[in-house]
Each structure stands twice: as C-alpha cells, then as structure tokens.
Symmetry: C2
Subunit: 405 residues, 2 copies
C-alpha cells in the first residue's frame, strides 16, 4: 500500500512512557517517508474524524515526546465492538479512513483497546477496505498477556519502589511502632504493589507486607501479620493494591462498608486497611494514596522502560511496512541477569481482553510478599534513570499542539 498513510492512536490510561512509543512510531515513519496522522482522543476521535497531521510537526518537537508523561494525543476508553455488534461504527470508520487514504492503523493501548484492534484486523473482509492493524502495548498494570512485560510498568514500578525505600528511611527515623500504608493502582492485579518489594534489601527494610489482589484478603491473618512485623522489625510498611478482594471476590473497600463500619467509604483500600488497624489494634497508620503520581512520574522514568516503549513503536511501523497485520509488538525475555530481551510478535487474538495476574511462583508462601523469582523479573525493568530536561527547578515538558487536519 505504498503512498498510503498511517494513523496512530493512544487508548486507555496514560503512562510515563506512552509518548515514547509515539516517538518511536513517528520517527520510524519519517525515516521511511510514511505519512502519519494521529487520532485525537483514541478511538473516540478516530470515529469522529478528529485527526491531526503529525507530518507537520518538527523533529525537535517529536524528540521531546521521549520525556513527556500523559498521552499527548489524548486518550479515551471508547471501544469498537465486533462487526456484528457495531457495524455502524465500522462503516463510519471506513469513511474516515477512506477520506484520508489511511490503510495502516496503530493502536497503542491496553487489553481493551488491543481487543478492538484484534477485531479490526478483519476490516477488509467485512468492509472491503484494506487496512493493516498493528498493536503497541501500553499499561502500568503489566497485565497484558503474550508480552513478558508492558511498557509503562517499569517506570511506575521504579517510582513506587523508590518512594517506598524513601518512606522507609523516614519511618525508621521516627522510631518504633509506626505503620505506613501505600495504596497503589492495580484493580485486578498486584504487579504494581509487588514492585514495591524491590525497595527492601533486608527484611528490616520497607515494605514489610504486601496486599495483592491475587491473594484473598483475610482480616485475621492480616492483623496477625502486622503484629508479627511490628514485633520483629519495630515497624510495618504496607503496599496495598487498590483492588484487594475478600474470599468472596468482592473489593474489600466496597464490600464491608456497611457490614462493618456502617458508612460510606471515602478513601480506597488503603484507608479501609487503616480503619481496620485503628479499630482492631488501636494503631493510627499513615496512608499515602499515590494515585496518578505513579503513572505520570516522568521526572524519574526507567531508562529500560522508555527504551522498550520506543522500540515497541518503532517495530510496529516497520511491521506495517512489511505487510504485517493482526499482531502486537511485545517483549520476550531471554534471561534475567544480565537482562537480555528481544522483540516478540504476538497475535492480537491472544492479547485482547485478556488479563495476566501475578503467577503463583511470584507470590511468597504466606501471600504477603514476593519470591526471589519475582524480584529477578522486576529489577531489570526499573533499570537506568531517564531524567527529563529541567527548567526553573521543574521538568520542562513542552506539550505539543498537534495541528488538526
């Protein structure tokens, strides 16, 4: 499809390195004189024909994407169903693509968006309009199947583990008996909470307990574990995933609100845990809810993560030009240490709408920690410091005003 054009879109929650994948895709398109448009606001903007002309933006501006958190083009959670379910969307999309002579689609997103990409790979069969579709992985949750890890995860892991190590020093200063709770993202998986474990070089160092969605939460066992850590280490730093559930599979922060405390829950899992400690042990814990800070922390990205994100975008464009479709760029691990990896070609059908949880071999026997195998897995993903330019003491991000088509 020489002379044709590609469209690139970002979908789902941003990461610290989502724009690094955009940079990889754009710079590779330029090297191959492939015209590229961007869709504003993901699939929502694409369906509405809200496109921008990436070609008109300077190389210097594109280079700044390397450092910039967020999704520079805008994201949305708009999805596209199957042709059978959502034919109207498909015909609308055909009109937009045809109007701009676009025959290449790059979807940079998580499992939901990649599920859409998988359905759209049959675009020509359903609509008669030739379209190649390649996915680029993205998510801080690290829950994409097929790829060893997801770009975005390494930088969030680095942010959280660094913060946990630092708070551990602060806590140790303040003497014995302290409990600190850090609530991380992770509604269904514990990859982010688990990453905090990398902060501890000895059992005495924070974190002392992890609460993972993969392990049903049991109040009695948890309280006993806190008692144990306080007795052994004099303090207890806890990393809790927002999505921990009880044995029935309900989110604890929602399930027990009326049953136990009789009121609406304002905080999330972290505050729920704090309330439990106050009520059952008289312990007043400090709670940090890291929220967006953990996925937008461009001031200290993982160099490995940023590099992988870039290469995922780069390779996706190369594959489009080689005629590939229906696949996603991914990461295949060759060895842990020294870390060695390669690009993997993953059928979109294997990725879309799936969810990879922490496997049992990564979770410690008591369920409150991780194994050495997990630490060997996560450490290389945080390796290297990608530090943006600063100006006036703050990261000098320069948002790009993409010119509308």
């Amino acid at each position: 499809m020489s002379g044709s054009r590609a469209v690139y879109l970002q979908s789902g929650g941003p990461t610290a390195v989502l724009n690094a994948s955009a940079q990889g895709a754009i710079e590779t398109a330029r090297r191959n004189t492939l015209s590229m448009y961007g869709a504003f606001d993901g699939l929502a903007g694409l369906l509405e024909g809200r496109l921008c002309n990436i070609d008109a933006v300077s190389d210097e501006a594109i280079a700044q994407l390397a450092f910039m958190p967020g999704g520079s083009f805008g994201v949305s959670r708009r999805m596209i169903g199957s042709f059978a379910e959502a034919a109207e969307d498909w015909w609308r999309l055909r009109d937009v693509l045809a109007q701009h002579d676009i025959h290449y689609l790059l979807v940079n997103g998580g499992n939901g968006s990649l599920g859409c990409a998988d359905r759209l790979k049959d675009f020509e069969r359903h609509t008669g309009y030739p379209l190649q579709v390649v996915g680029i992985p993205k998510t801080i949750d690290n829950d994409l199947v097929g790829t060893d890890n997801s770009p975005g995860y390494g930088s969030s892991a680095k942010f959280l583990a660094s913060a946990m190590r630092e708070v551990g020093l602060d806590m140790t200063s303040m003497g014995r008996g302290r409990v600190f709770i850090m609530e991380t993202m992770g509604r269904h998986t514990g990859w982010l909470a688990a990453a905090c474990a990398a902060a501890a070089r000895t059992p005495y160092e924070a974190p002392h307990l992890l609460l993972l969605p993969e392990v049903p939460f049991d109040s009695e066992r948890f309280l006993a574990a806190v008692d144990d850590r306080l007795a052994r280490f004099g303090q207890c730093a806890i990393a809790v995933a927002e999505g921990i559930t009880n044995a029935e599979g309900h989110f604890v922060a929602e399930a027990k609100k009326s049953a136990i405390y009789g009121h609406e829950q304002l905080g999330g899992a972290g505050h729920w845990i704090a309330q439990l400690l106050l009520q059952e042990r008289g312990i007043s814990a400090h709670v940090a809810q890291v929220d967006y800070l953990q996925r937008a922390g461009g001031h200290l990205g993982s160099a490995m993560d940023a590099r992988q994100a870039y290469i995922m975008g780069e390779r996706a464009v190369e594959w489009l030009l080689q005629g590939k479709s229906g696949v996603m760029t991914g990461i295949k691990r060759i060895q842990d240490h020294p870390y060695c990896w390669d690009v993997a070609e993953i059928p979109l059908a294997e990725v879309g709408d799936q969810e990879k949880r922490l496997p049992p071999e990564f979770i410690s026997a008591d369920g409150f920690g991780v194994t050495e195998a997990f630490l060997a897995y996560v450490r290389p993903l945080m390796e290297g410091e990608r530090i943006p330019p600063f100006k006036g003491g703050l990261p000098d991000y320069r948002p790009i005003a993409w010119p509308a088509v």
Copy 2:
C-alpha cells in the same frame, strides 16, 4: 571551651535534606578537629544519654548523608520545658553532658525544638554548667520565623510542583470534565499547597485551584470556583493543604463529619473535598494523598535546598567555635532574580514556638491562588536537581549504623 565536645540532634518530622545539614555540621567539626557526638532520637535520646560517636564514622559514610532522606540519627517530638517547669529534665541533661564533656549543643529542628533550644541557652545560669546552644532550621512546612525559608521546604515544593505538572499532563490526556485533588501536608500553613502553583506556566495548566489554611474554606465559594474552572479550562486540578479550616477555625475534615455526612472521616481534607464535590455536583474526583512521599523524596531533591541545608549546619558549628550561643542559622534573601542570599543570625528567642503563615501579599485576591510575588519567592528554592546515586534502578541510600557511645 577548647577540648570540649559537641552533640548534634535532629528533632521533629524529617525532610529530604535534614541529613545534609548533619553533613554540613559534621564535616565542619572535622575540619576544626571538634569532637562530635550525635543523640539518638532527638531530645528523648539526649536526656536518656543514648549517644553515638560520630567521630568513629568514615568520611565516605558522612558524605552519603548529602542524599539521604529521613533523619539518620532518629528524631522524636520530646521537648524540654523551662527550668521552672522541668528542672528534673535539666539536671538529667546536665549529668549526660558532663559525663561526656559536652559543652556545645546543636539542635536541628522546627519551631518546637528551637523553642527548647531557646530555653536551654540559659543552661549555665540555671545549672552552673557551661553550654552553648545553636539552632539549625528544618521543616518542610516553611513556617519558621526569622529565616526567609526553611531547609526542607524547597525539596518538598519541587516534588509537589513536579507531580502537579505531571498529573496535569495526564489529566489533559483524558479529556474534559476531570477533577483531581492533591492533598499536601500543612496543618496550619499553606506553603506546600501554594508551591504547587509553580507547576502552571499558563492559567490552563494544573493547578487551577489552591485551598490554603490561611483562607477560611467556604463550600459555596469553592463549588462556584470549581464550576468556573471547569467551564474555562475543561478541568480542575486542586492542591489542598491538609489543614484547611472553616470560618470558625475548625479543620474541615473533622468539623463537618457528623454535621454533614454523619460518619467518621477516613481520608483527610482531600477526601472530604471529593465527597463534597460528589454530593453537591455529582463529580467523581480522583484524590492523591501524598503523605510522607513529599518529605522523603530524595530521588529528586532541590540542589538549592540541599546547599542551604548544608551551609546552615556548617555555619552553626563555626558559630559555636566563635563562642556564639542562643542563635539559629537562617537565610536572608538579598534578591529574587537572580536569586541571591546570605546566612542570617537569628536569635532563638524570635523563632521558638512561633509560626509563619503565608502573608496576604502572597495570596491572590480570590483566595484560590497565589500572587506573582509568591512565585518569585518560591522558584529559586526549587532550583537545581540533586539526584542521588542509583543502583539496580533505585536510589542507593546507605543508612549509617552510628556506633553507640
């Protein structure tokens, strides 16, 4: 008092650069062959005679204090009252000091600890034991009077403003209508929440609203301001100090818990604001509670802050050796831009147990923002990046095991 010894202690909540002041004091003592002990856990440890021998620690270890968050010696909130109120403490302290031939006391702390230091400057008059006392300022709250700013504040300000800028990019990616709330520390003063304002280069950029303890919180005015920001900017990022109060001077997060929502408050001011928005506007806001992360963020300290912290410690030792007592090292601003400052000598009597709030000329007319004068004040304090050594992707802090005396 040649041949005598100094004791150094840290008191109150740690900061990212508290240990940099320790480094400045210790290295200056070494240059002057002044023997120096440290007190474990602040005044509590000093009164109990729990001391460590700083002299026995290598120069290499001391140099690492430059980067390390927390209070390496341990802190406490133990205070010492006046001789009239707490003579027993004074005699106990005399015994400890005499036992170790200590005639120099360095108190590195905030307004409460410096108040103790001020009382202890009369040690010889009450107990007959010669003691010189010099204070070294420390607090992320920036609420010490006499000094233009407090070491610790610049690094926390840099952390919070960087995070706000980054979250702003993340929010902008996600489209219109979003409200984000970042709760900062600051129980009585708004210096930290105000620092977030440095993130915005245009009115369109986060933060769009500040809630400061200096301005009584009024729900109606606040809701109208959120409506206004959403209409004008399509989003509203809010920095709220934990200690905002209503017109009667009560903390909002406590005062209204039963009156309005009829239940115990789990989160702090940030969650309270979120609940108000949900109830009155149907807006579901994201809340980040930064907690200890904002004062322990050694991975990105302000170089200016670290330098000032070091010099405060350095000069304090020089003053002891010059025979001074009853004073605190402080910072005098000569000009904003280019930033120029000098060390100020501040009588402890002016500092102790005082509190400096944001002055009216730093708060915007509507009370929801800051003035250009404040931005000119805060920017130099965040200037420069002090980045620690990293190992394995994480800041390589090496806690010092101080040898007990």
